[in-house]
């Protein structure tokens, strides 16, 4: 048993903490949320320079072939900083799928650009408020001439308007194979409809009204992409739990600092037992959520037998923890944390963003029941 990071991971963590405290201020996070601009290009370029966008990819495509724990170290820090970038969606979800399914030419074209921060890809998977399972996908891919026509509707697509490409799941006819295709959001027949969420600032419905694509836009070989999508969703769930653990830890620190500074009845409110006990419970939750997240990461790295279960536990535990931590922090901050100018609600919204990401945690709770 070794519950510490190795020296390299510890170094990455420190560097990430320093970089993000410099480059990712709450003011920047707030600006992105308010759409000015919706994509923080300078921060993204900096992250590319740090090598983070290349972490999960094979070296042949400009990647660093880092392990899952190392990736989680960076993502925990991103969660801590209330990261306003599409890191998990673009790099982990889309990059991972391109790496798993793409042809050599596609990987050369897309992964190398993605790793350099020159290509933004958004995943267009969900179609209804149900679990992101293959049977729920109705978007069709119909052969026409030398290419295909895509018809369907996708929901909860992150930053579709900023993306260079949308990675869209579609089925080859009723009951046919699942495929992934890349479509530019500006292509003919694509309509973007902005959704207004309390959590994610830039969510879209993507309507695909018979979009024509050529064969090169379909990812990889003609095989069923459903298993690769399931694997990508598993990795994504594990990494979202690392982000949640990082965010919750930061909010706990903010609440402890506030409770130590804010005086009422002539004393810091953090000296009152009622406040101390709320924070003590949050501490225990954050600590165990973080352990669950990293146990899932190590299991992913080992490709262990229990990986699906560990990921499910981490996803449920950490997301619930992040939301609860924020709600407790709101109670401790009182009126101060309730104001628009307060930074606290940036994290609270982030917590809900993670809760609902990739179809939400409910699906992992149901999965856990199946596994029991």
């Amino acid at each position: 048993m070794d519950l510490d990071f190795n020296p390299e991971q510890a170094q990455i963590k420190d560097a990430a903490r320093r970089f993000l405290s410099r480059e990712c201020s709450p003011a920047l996070v707030r600006g992105v949320r308010e759409g000015a601009p919706s994509h923080p290009a300078a921060l993204w370029a900096g992250m590319a320079e740090q090598g983070w966008l290349a972490l999960p990819f094979e070296e042949a495509y400009g990647g660093l072939a880092a392990g899952w724990v190392t990736l989680a170290v960076v993502i925990e820090e991103l969660g801590r900083a209330c990261d306003p970038t599409p890191f998990i969606d673009c790099v982990v979800n889309c990059g991972g799928l391109i790496q798993d399914l793409g042809s050599d030419a596609q990987k050369r074209r897309w992964l190398t650009a993605l790793a350099r921060g020159e290509l933004l890809v958004s995943l267009a998977l969900l179609e209804s408020p149900s679990d992101p399972d293959p049977e729920c996908i109705e978007t069709r891919l119909e052969a026409e001439g030398t290419g295909f026509r895509v018809r369907g509707r996708k929901l909860f697509v992150e930053r579709a308007a900023d993306a260079d490409l949308l990675l869209v799941s579609a089925r080859e006819g009723a009951g046919g194979r699942m495929r992934l295709v890349s479509i530019a959001p500006g292509a003919a027949g694509v309509e973007l409809v902005r959704l207004r969420s309390l959590a994610h600032p830039h969510l879209y419905e993507v309507r695909l009204e018979g979009v024509m694509i050529d064969g090169g836009q379909v990812l990889g070989e003609p095989i069923d992409a459903a298993p690769a999508i399931a694997a990508a969703m598993r990795r994504s769930a594990a990494l979202h739990s690392a982000a949640a653990a990082g965010g919750a830890q930061r909010v706990l620190e903010m609440a402890v600092a506030h409770a130590s500074e804010r005086h009422q009845f002539g004393k810091p409110i953090g000296s009152f037992q009622a406040v101390q006990h709320m924070l003590a419970d949050v501490w225990a939750e954050v600590e165990t959520a973080r352990l669950a997240a990293y146990e899932a990461m190590t299991e992913l790295e080992l490709a262990g037998r229990a990986v699906e279960e560990k990921v499910a536990i981490a996803r449920c535990a950490s997301s619930e923890c992040f939301v609860r931590t924020c709600l407790t922090a709101h109670q401790i901050f009182g009126g101060t944390g309730f104001m628009w100018e307060s930074d606290l609600h940036l994290w609270t919204r982030k917590a809900e963003e993670i809760e609902f990401a990739c179809g939400g945690t409910g699906r992992w709770r149901r999965r856990l029941a199946q596994l029991l």
Binding site: Q276, W283, E287, L368, A369, L372
Partner: protein, 389 residues
């Protein structure tokens, strides 16, 4: 980063399991099931058998005849015993003996440690009094100097195990003129001493604990552990050893696994309990909570092996374990329906009545061993650095 046990640790677990498979027979099992946490003759014999194997000193340093095993290995060992509800002397082994090693004189160590190691000597805790619970420093029991001896007079309550222990580890006031927590001392002496009266008190679950009356009990000055008036510090040292073992997950995991098996087996309205989505969701919630506790137990044990002190971790473990025990018992009984109320020994009792026993014990788990409120104070003040009230 690695959350797995090493192959050697797994082999060690198998070794313990084989030993227990061989030596825990049906008669001992029956005795445990009906003894109400008071070890009977078979359990006492088993304790000595563990002593013969050298396992009582599993975590003790080798210099004191122990095996010097890591905290992870100790955790494995105690988990396996807990899974079979085996009595292993508890705090005598894991807390008081360790405190003796740290604070007792060489002569006292020679006097007590070898006998503890052989399973011959068990010590109960004489802290709590009718007027001194969480505010232990307000205790009234007095120890007055009388020549070479001390004369001890007072009353202790909730002295669990006093009716089967050989000795008591007692906190008494030796200097009434000093500030209250600076005038206390620890003594260790036989319960068979003249002037000691042990009377039973029965808990809501029918488990025996005791009140202990001390009427001018003569105790030699050599029975004092540590310096005079340093008793509150001695108790703090003992508590630090104790806290690491307070919150455990293995029994909760076993009860959960048995509950799950029952839900697969029992039917209601033509379908198994498990097929009810409401039941599934409750079980999933419990499963996640037990996993969190397991991870925290791993973390504390691992920290000790790294030479760190798991202060907030151990307190959080105690809080989580006790509250989860109550939740698992309460929710589990309700999931099982009317049969859930049936006690051990009753016809139709699911899980041999284990959840009922757990439910009856759970309130004590929350307030005993330092209330959960005190534990949360420790997390907040020592873990998070919040100011004292």
């Amino acid at each position: 980063m690695d959350f797995r046990f090493t192959p050697e640790q797994e082999r060690f677990r198998q070794e313990i399991r084989r030993f227990l498979d061989t030596h825990v027979d049906e008669a001992l099992r029956q005795e445990i099931a009906t003894c109400g946490y008071t070890p009977g003759p078979l359990a006492k014999a088993f304790l000595r058998l563990l002593g013969d194997r050298g396992w009582l000193g599993i975590g003790w340093p080798k210099a004191y005849g122990g095996q010097g095993k890591t905290m992870i290995e100790q955790m494995i060992f105690y988990d396996e015993l807990d899974l079979r509800d085996i009595h292993y002397g508890g705090l005598t082994i894991t807390s008081l003996a360790m405190t003796l090693m740290k604070l007792a004189s060489e002569e006292q160590k020679q006097q007590y440690l070898p006998r503890i190691l052989r399973g011959e000597l068990e010590i109960c805790l004489g802290y709590t009094e009718p007027g001194a619970g969480s505010d232990l420093a307000s205790l009234m029991t007095r120890a007055e100097r009388d020549g070479e001896d001390y004369l001890i007079t007072g009353q202790k309550v909730f002295t669990t195990g006093a009716h089967y222990s050989t000795h008591i580890w007692l906190l008494a006031r030796t200097a009434p003129e000093l500030p209250r927590h600076k005038g206390l001392s620890i003594f260790i002496f036989p319960l068979a001493s003249p002037g000691v009266t042990v009377r039973p008190m029965y808990t809501m679950g029918g488990i025996r604990t005791n009140e202990v009356f001390l009427d001018r009990v003569h105790v030699p000055a050599s029975a004092m552990i540590g310096a005079p008036n340093s008793g509150f510090y001695t108790v703090a040292v003992a508590l630090d050893f104790e806290r690491i073992f307070m919150g455990k997950y293995a029994r909760l995991r076993r009860n959960f696994t048995e509950l799950l098996a029952c839900c697969r087996h029992f039917t209601r309205n033509g379908r198994t309990l498990w097929e009810d989505p409401l039941v599934q969701d409750r079980l999933v919630g419990l499963h996640i909570a037990i996993e969190r506790l397991r991870l925290l137990c791993f973390k504390s044990a691992w920290m000790v092996d790294q030479g760190k002190v798991p202060t907030a971790e151990a307190s959080a473990q105690k809080v989580m374990a006790s509250e989860l025990e109550q939740r698992l018992a309460d929710e589990g009984m309700k999931i099982l329906g009317p049969c859930g109320q049936l006690e051990p020994g009753s016809p139709h009792a699911p899980m041999e009545g284990r959840l009922v026993s757990s439910w009856l014990l759970a309130p004590m788990m929350r307030f005993g061993g330092g209330t959960n409120e005190i534990q949360r104070d420790i997390i907040a003040q020592r873990g998070l650095g919040l100011p004292r009230a």
